[in-house]
Symmetry: none
Subunit: 196 residues, 2 copies
């Protein structure tokens, strides 16, 4: 016994969603109706034809492959800096910085802003990050403006500690304690000795 049009269309939608590679012919057999009926159903539900569906899936895949994280020189705009003391930078969270699924900023962008600010605040361009202890205290949504404040809290024999606190409005969203190594300009990266 063939079910009602409504039920068929619901199941049709699910079937195609699950397997976009199915042809009208196959669907007609599955639902025991004519191919034309399947086509009318697709039209009513505005489900595109097989080739369009496949193309859509493929295109989505291609976009993914073009992904090449374009991280700029400095993440965020430095709006204030006092070398070896403190710095403030600003970072606007845009579409490309968030998870498509929930619109929340990916952690590494907040980290990148903080980390590059920690590098910048050090009065020696050869600063490398040695350790970091970080905390994401609140999710940051698309469209937010993140203000990172870096403060140099300690310094000894080549190592400097920088604490970066990032805010959206008055809310703390990120906090990180970075131990920065003031690297010598030697080419060798293997042995790192404190020199200045």
């Amino acid at each position: 016994m063939r079910k009602s049009k409504k039920e068929r269309q619901e199941r049709l939608q699910l079937t195609i969603q699950e397997n976009p590679f199915v042809t009208d012919e196959e669907l007609a057999q599955e639902f025991n109706v004519s191919v034309q009926t399947i086509r009318l159903d697709r039209m009513e539900l505005s489900i595109p034809e097989l080739r369009e569906r496949i193309k859509y899936v493929a295109e989505k895949n291609m976009q993914d492959e073009v992904r090449s994280l374009p991280i700029e020189e400095v993440i965020g705009d430095i709006i204030d800096i006092e070398l070896d003391s403190s710095a403030i930078s600003l970072f606007d969270v845009k579409k490309e910085h968030v998870f498509t699924r929930n619109g929340i900023a990916r952690g590494h962008h907040l980290f990148a802003q903080a980390n590059s600010l920690a590098v910048a605040v050090i009065n020696d361009e050869m600063a490398l990050t040695g350790k970091a202890e970080i905390k994401f205290t609140q999710p940051v949504k698309e469209g937010s403006r993140v203000i990172a404040k870096a403060k140099v809290t300690g310094s000894e024999k080549g190592w400097t500690t920088v604490v970066v606190s990032s805010f959206v409005g008055s809310d703390l969203v990120f906090r990180g304690e970075f131990t920065m190594f003031r690297a010598p300009s030697s080419e060798k990266g293997e042995k790192h000795e404190a020199r200045n």
Copy 2:
């Protein structure tokens, strides 16, 4: 002047590789030859027709979709993953990832690779980084291939700890312990949805 058959075929291969969505018609115009010539070329190079190419790309995508995260969200290429257990990704350090001064990779790229691997390994709709304790044990130079290995070390209601160790060859260059907040999808089930 039209180039030789050999050169045309080489360029044809590259063109299709770059953009599998191109038709024979378009290729014929681009190379200033007839459609038939393009088809002979494709046959000689055993390049399938447009629809087969698109289908192949789409199918690849469907396989990937089983993962908890779209592949685009991951920095580096995931070469192995066992959800809620372990994952391995690969990241090639290029010019754009290093400090121009010394050719050493900026920390946030290593962090990004590790962090996104930690997100990917979690088998939930949503995974956010809560805390992280990280260590950069050795500088990474341009041209290095960084292999990040993530291991889920603990899990309790809503929180999962993931340890990521990154290597260049046999040298540990980065280590991070991430505390990830996880949120299961509203609709429980093994079936993944194909968005149409």
